[in-house]
């Protein structure tokens, strides 16, 4: 079974190379080639999944990548277990859907070959990431994923905002990766191995003593937080929406941003060794979930709303992992991947129809975009956790996991977030699709079938995935490093609360935006301070910009000045000293040969005299001769 797994990432890579090598000539075919490649990858991934379901197990295969003097070897390897295979299927599936969708969405764009080769390259890196069996391989693909994200966010590089966003995304995630890298270094220092299984064993054996297990866990979490847009490294995700919408769906909603969650799950034994680290992860996740949900309530850019929603949901997953509920976290990751991809693709469909991102310019699009509206409604319901949609099951699993861990404060956060989530997603849906159509938007028409089909497939899954809960639970708990848990925690009231919260959120959105019983504008004016704070996203961006501009750049300019005028200045002063000294000694050169000759003989006399003075025995030698 494992023998052919490498083909899963290899096919998209091959497709990416093929398409980019063919260049502009393959403009027509590019999409078909990469889509076909990922289709076959999906088939194979499903095949692996089927095999793993029938015969569960954890397998790994490695090859030595390089061996260095000093007892160090690095390997490339794959780890095939339920966790990685689930991720494999998710990535392949979403990638396939998004690429099919892109065939319609990106049609006619000049850079279409570039687009599809990047997409395919991303798919390759993401697949490699989830398969990695050692930290070096993982880190490599981790960075490659970041690179593809950078390239795709900046796909329309001539737009300054897109270029800015791409740079920001790369740098902010890199900041987190720095922690990840240092974490790897620390692990290498103590354990001298990069293999995840061996690291896990070593940690379990307590070879990472004292505070080090916490430090390592937090350092690695820094990488996860960067990729998964957790506070305080979340600022890049909303800006990343400058990329094409399918990119946002694939990378910034379903797969890459979930890589942080995946990382925590993959290295769960390392985290599990430190209660402190888990606690910090849980609270940071909860904080991010709440923070992002509040911001999402007042944004007007359709994609930004969804981006904040993604952050919030990722916070949810982190919360689950922080509470040791590995299974719920991964389950939510799976369902979220489906419905969030759907939300984005539907949003893309809307944008495709009316060419704006601003929800205030939309409205009443429902009758015109029936499929889009319907599928987005499914996704919205799933996101809100309304039964029987998939989100309901996974979200409840998380809440119950939190409850089981005894963190009541986080439970409250979860429920409030659920309320806010329903509110903002229905605010979005109602504003866009319900109400009276804005005058000039009447010409909007439904997207072509090639875009509609992925929407419908995803909607079907968003609707049904939740019922797989028990099977999923059973399957994934066989993953390497999954904590041993007995029965799923169960509490009768929590789903009720969550449901009620969601309902309340829906009702609120209905009242404010559909019935307009309560004026949104009035609310905004009433709570102007809060509104402003939320609209400006808690001024976090501004703080960062201030720190970067006034801190780092000023410091760097200061250093440049120092280099130019102090370090180099010193060099120039030395040069000037010698030039002046030369000018001075030049005066001695009168240019008259006789004087030089005289100096020569004078020197001779001086030397002779001084030698005779200091070594009187020379006289004796002369005499004795």
């Amino acid at each position: 079974m494992i023998a052919h797994v490498w083909l899963v990432p290899a096919l998209p890579l091959l497709a990416a190379i093929l398409v980019s090598a063919a260049g502009q000539r393959s403009a027509r075919l590019a999409g078909s080639i990469t889509t076909g490649a990922v289709f076959f990858s999906l088939i194979m991934a499903l095949n692996v999944l089927a095999g793993l379901i029938s015969t569960p197990g954890v397998e790994q295969v490695s090859m030595v990548w390089l061996r260095s003097a000093g007892n160090l070897s690095m390997e490339l390897g794959m780890l095939v277990d339920p966790l990685s295979v689930i991720m494999l299927v998710i990535v392949c599936f979403i990638s396939l859907m998004v690429q099919i969708y892109s065939l319609g969405y990106m049609a006619g764009d000049k850079g279409i070959t570039r687009y599809f080769s990047f997409m395919s390259f991303f798919t390759f890196s993401m697949l490699g990431l989830v398969l990695a069996n050692n930290l070096i391989t993982l880190y490599m693909f981790w960075e490659l994923v970041g690179l593809s994200s950078y390239l795709l966010i900046g796909f329309w590089y001539h737009k300054p905002e897109a270029a800015d966003a791409a740079k920001k995304a790369f740098i902010v995630t890199r900041f987190g990766d720095l922690g990840f890298l240092i974490g790897i270094l620390v692990l290498a220092y103590f354990l001298n191995t990069f293999n995840i299984l061996e690291v896990g064993e070593a940690v379990k054996d307590g070879r990472l003593t004292g505070q080090w297990s916490t430090i390592v866990a937090l350092l690695i979490f820094a990488g996860a937080a960067g990729k998964s847009a957790q506070f305080p490294l979340h600022v890049w995700l909303p800006d990343a929406m400058e990329g094409p919408t399918p990119v946002s769906a694939l990378i910034h909603a379903a797969t890459m941003v979930a890589a942080g969650v995946f990382l925590v799950a993959r290295l769960f034994p390392v985290f599990a060794a430190s209660e402190t680290a888990l606690m910090i992860i849980a609270y940071l996740g909860g904080f991010t979930a709440l923070l992002a949900a509040t911001v999402a309530c007042v944004q007007n850019d359709i994609k930004r709303i969804l981006a904040y929603s993604t952050m919030s949901q990722l916070g949810y997953m982190m919360m689950a992992l922080g509470c040791r509920d590995y299974i719920a976290g991964m389950f939510h990751l799976t369902t979220h991947a489906v419905f969030k991809a759907l939300l984005f693709l539907a949003a893309g469909s809307v944008i495709h129809a009316i060419h704006t991102n601003d929800i205030r310019q939309m409205g009443g699009l429902g009758p015109r975009l029936k499929i889009t509206a319907a599928t987005m409604l499914v996704a919205a319901l799933a996101l809100s956790g309304i039964p029987p949609f998939s989100g309901f099951f996974s979200k409840d699993a998380i809440l119950m996991g939190i409850w089981a861990a005894g963190r009541m404060d986080l439970l409250m956060v979860g429920i409030v977030t659920a309320f806010l989530t329903t509110f903002y997603v229905f605010r979005l849906w109602i504003v866009v699709f319900a109400g009276h159509p804005a005058e000039k938007k009447r010409q909007a028409h439904e997207s072509p079938w090639i875009m509609a089909i992925p929407l419908m497939v995803l909607a079907l899954l968003a609707l049904s995935l939740g019922w797989l809960g028990e099977n999923f639970r059973h399957f994934i708990s066989a993953s390497w490093g999954a904590p041993q848990v007995g029965e799923a925690p169960h509490h009768r009231l929590i789903p009720m609360f969550a449901f009620l919260a969601s309902l309340a959120g829906f009702g609120w959105a209905y009242l404010v935006y559909f019935k307009k019983t309560i004026s949104a504008r009035l609310l905004a004016r009433r709570f102007a301070g809060t509104y402003k704070l939320l609209e400006r996203k808690y001024y976090i961006d501004e703080i960062y910009i201030f720190l970067v501009r006034q801190g780092m750049f000023v410091f760097s300019r200061g250093l440049a000045w120092f280099d130019r005028y102090v370090v180099d200045g010193m060099v120039n002063r030395v040069g000037e000293f010698f030039r002046l000294a030369g000018k001075g000694t030049r005066l001695l050169q009168v240019g008259r040969l006789q004087a030089y000759l005289l100096a020569f003989f004078l020197g001779l006399v001086v030397i002779m005299v001084s030698v005779l003075m200091t070594h009187p025995e020379i006289m004796e030698i002369i005499k004795s001769k």
Binding site: Q589, V590, G591, R592, L593, Q594, L597
Partner: protein, 101 residues
């Protein structure tokens, strides 16, 4: 008491020192060259005396060479003086300071 090697050596040293003094102090190029010739003369005398007193004819050969070279030097030196004179209409060494840049 007879005339020994020492006498000749001292004499040639005196002549050498005189020539050196001339080289240091003369401001005319021709006069300077003449002083150089005096130095050569002293050296030739020195060699001859040494060769004769020690009975080594090699010294005489050297004296011959020195005289030859002195002549050659005089020829080139005076040619240079003439060339300089043609360029500068002057052979005053105090004003010949083109070495100084």
């Amino acid at each position: 008491m007879s005339i020994s090697l020492t006498h000749y050596l001292v004499l040639s040293t005196v002549l050498f020192a005189l020539g050196l003094y001339g080289v240091f102090t003369r401001r005319n190029a021709v006069a300077l060259l003449l002083a150089v010739e005096l130095i050569m003369l002293a050296v030739a005398l020195n060699f001859t005396a040494g060769a004769q007193f020690w009975g080594k004819p090699g010294g005489l050969i050297f004296a011959i060479f020195i005289i030859t070279i002195a002549a050659a030097e005089a020829a080139v030196g005076l040619a240079l003086v003439i060339a300089i004179y043609r360029n500068q209409k002057d052979v005053d060494l105090d004003r010949l300071t083109i070495l100084r840049w």
